[in-house]
Subunit: 317 residues, 4 copies
């Protein structure tokens, strides 16, 4: 049985045909229409139609559609309560799409969809208790517990980027202070790199050079490249961010006791350079040591396609 998974991002809508092993058999992309809920549904419907047509040419049928969205989705997996970047608010996306495509549709938070994919087909394969952490500009999360995606009572569980790690800490656009994503995300990594360039330009020489001399030009890619070359200042930036990431995972372990953490998102492109300080910090912070079997910490395996694969698979169940 085939399904279609759709990942609605801020700039593009990516859709793919997903088989029961999470393989993506075919894929299309369209630009995301800005601030236009009707236009957005139309684009999703067009992508779904195109993929179905191609499959039907091979005599294959698509049975359902799963859609991942960066925003709050209600407990019925039907309504997008708020998706700031897409301009959606109380949008009955499932109803609208089912009307357009004539297939059962489920809506899901995008980080939840990606987590589900990693749990089923990626780094978390075989584990029923898993926490997926996506270190992008912010921090996204997904929880799989007892083999099921944990969506919470109102559909908005796993907003781990906004639990508080520092009272009176850095201000977050969400309105709170000290949110985890102000310390362990890609944005935090970049802020570290730029501060070093401003207050210790000699130590940050390599990063500055890659950024053509401009501290403000230091990006996640610059820091990652310098770190992979072995640059001490860039490695230190990853150490700082990894320290916070690992300490936060220790908190999540205290609360959830998962078997493993899967770490994805752009920051995780640095691989071991990120993972080692995370593991080190986790080991020092997890409560109950040394009497506790600690969770494993692994890199995500599915990359940017996790959202499609997960949304498609969730539509199947």
């Amino acid at each position: 049985m085939l399904t279609i998974g759709v990942d609605i991002g801020g700039t593009k809508v990516a859709a793919g045909v997903v088989d029961h092993d999470g393989q993506i058999l075919d894929k299309v992309k369209y630009p995301t229409p800005a601030d236009d809920p009707g236009g957005l549904a139309a684009v999703v419907a067009r992508a779904v139609g195109e993929l179905r047509e191609r499959r039907s040419g091979k005599g294959e049928d698509v049975r359902a559609v799963g859609v991942g969205v960066a925003g709050f989705v209600d407990e019925d997996r039907a309504t997008v309560q708020v998706a700031v970047n897409l301009g959606l608010r109380n949008e009955p996306l499932r109803e609208r799409l089912e009307g357009l495509v004539g297939l059962p549709v489920v809506i899901e938070n995008d980080a939840n969809a990606a987590a589900w994919a990693e749990a089923r087909f990626g780094a978390g394969r075989g584990s029923d208790h898993l926490v997926c952490i996506t270190l992008g500009t912010g921090i996204g999360g997904g929880l799989v517990m007892d083999g099921r995606l944990h969506r919470g009572r109102f559909g908005v569980a796993a907003e781990v980027g906004h639990y508080r790690v520092v009272p009176h800490g850095r201000r977050c656009p969400c309105g709170n202070q000290g949110c985890w994503e102000q310390y362990a995300s890609g944005r935090a990594l970049v802020a570290e790199g730029r501060e070093r360039a401003r207050t210790d330009p000699r130590g940050a020489e390599r990063m500055l050079k890659l950024a053509e001399g401009d501290a403000e030009g230091i990006s996640g890619h610059v820091i990652t490249q310098a770190a992979l070359e072995g640059d001490a200042a860039a490695l230190d930036c990853f150490r700082t961010v990894g320290e916070w990431a690992g300490a936060g995972m220790a908190d999540l372990a205290a609360i959830l006791d998962p078997e493993c953490f899967v770490v994805g998102g752009g920051v995780s492109d640095a691989g071991a350079v990120l993972l080692e300080p995370i593991r080190d910090s986790f080991a020092r912070h997890v409560p109950g040591r040394p009497n506790r079997r600690p969770a494993e910490i692994r890199l995500a395996e599915l990359g940017g396609e996790a959202g499609i694969a997960g949304a498609g698979d969730l539509a199947r169940h």
Copy 2:
């Protein structure tokens, strides 16, 4: 069908016959033997035997035994990995007890058992997504998600008292710093009261009088009594602790998105005096506001018998 629930505490072993509505039909208590695993199992067996005999006099049968223990219990609900106060370490308590009583036995963490009871028969009745917080000397927790007790991969989920709320914060006997229970527990409440008495004796006059003039004599009972009388300093102690409790619940809501929180433990004897600052703090800290349906916060209903009722009910399933 009847079961027996047992609550093994640091000073006493309490056992009761539990019916399918969570009612405790009969109860016995024995002192807890110190640092003597074999003796402990014998006491539990004796309590179970006594209760069964009385039931059998009425022609009633007991089918299973559930035991709640303050400690880490493994994922098979069989072995107590470590229970510091009871001197247990890798104790195969289920096997030992089944040998003695000839009934199926399950072992459970005591805060989990209490949470289960509140979810099934108490303040959380009817809710499938619930977080139970026990504010005693420390903080215990229990999670019910999608209608099931969440035990984690290794049986030690819901150790919420030890997630970190303040980096470099107060030292905790667990070896970490800044654990939630150093800020929102009964111990924290008492520390607040004593500090006020030392640094502002006039403001703390009423608490000091109830403690016969000695700052070190200020207990949770003293602060509760003064607060219920309307004493400003005592109310302030509850406000401080409630602020931390509510902020921590906001973190848990970000991660778990429950429908309700149930607050129990000795500190909750103060009722509204505690609950109001908790609700106020929760409302100010929960992320996603004002776009989010927030969880309700309720007082526990079952008091000290929640452990017996929950352990008994868990043995049934």
Copy 3:
């Protein structure tokens, strides 16, 4: 004996004739030339020349010039090491000005000059141990100890806005994190007001109305006006900032043990609305209570002219 005091700000150069009682007898203002050290000295010289000429018409003589600058001034009171807003770096301002005006010149940090004026002629009159705190966009400071301005070994003492009050706290443009001025300045006050408007628009109704409905339009003036009207949310903003201000002064009291604090700057326009939470917080945080005679906390008296009066008076000594 008369002197001239000059206050070089980011937008204007203000100069005045100062008598030995700190009275400003005459005053002129010019716009500050941007990023032009030579032009800046020429403007100061012109202002001094104009004021001298008018005095000389009355048969009065000016003996010296004192100049206050927002920046690091060296220990010889001669060179501006760095003044970001004025584009100065290692600028030998004293030498340049003495060449132009033919009088002895001293250069001083502007917050130091203002503190000196308050100590000699303003709210700190009569006190030999005084800490002056200027709550503007950031936080400036000036220390008078044993009756003398404390400049430090290298001329840069009293940078109190940048001591750290929160580890891992809010990022500061200075490159550090958790600086006091991120919590107790006008910028912090405005950030409080805007956050409230975003996360609790109903509670912040009055401030929003004064800002014509736009959270980003909430300024220090808006919050001050609403607070003086008694608006609860605005008062709360002052309470939050006052709490941090008072806690920081308690730290300074632990280190310096002054007789009084003088609080000035734009935030202090709110008067008692600011002063009360500061005093309350100070009393709760100052160490050594209840065995200590605590410092008084007073509002500054000289307003915007403190810089001129102080610079002029420092030139006399």
Copy 4:
């Protein structure tokens, strides 16, 4: 001209004859009488008498007595306002002693006396702007500014151990939370060592061995010895404490801008093992970098006799 310096500690009273170079020519010691102000004065008088008699045998005269006390001393250097460990409260020690010994007496806080000695005769020789930090069980401080001991308005300046470095931080016996001495003192060092032993016994193997297997037996001496042997866990304890010490000195530099810091007390016996992380942390935290001439950080030179030498010298001026 000779004076006598007296250092009143919790267990012994040490007195010495001090010449104008800070040399201690002769010395006596007595046990400190507990909770007996009159007895304490008598012991000091006896020690002074004994030393004078020996000098007078050589035809030398003693002109004044300086006394250092661990406690709050008033601004007239006459009254001990409170000295918890000695059981003194509002004790007119100068008057009492002058009556007994017939010489001019000055009373001083012991950390101030030690700081003065280091500034005049020790590691701070030649510097007029100096901050002395004594890392013992707690943290003591002394400030020399413009060549004079800074005592503050009420005599209690330089209580640097109790400025707040962590909001909601570790509780301090002073009644506050997050005091610097909870993070950078000998007590903090020992707490680090013990925590490591409890939560990572293998890593802390060497320290545990030196403590005969008992985590509670880990003392400052044990950690220092292990660190000097190169043990990684012990070096880490010093790194943690040195990080806090250096960050605190960066705060003091922002406020006071001294030429140098002198670091003494028992923790400083570790020498470079402590000094390197302090210097590293200071360099990363001091505000105004890279535009600022930073203070030097040196080890104290006078050891335990600094108190006698300083008290004696202060009596001379």
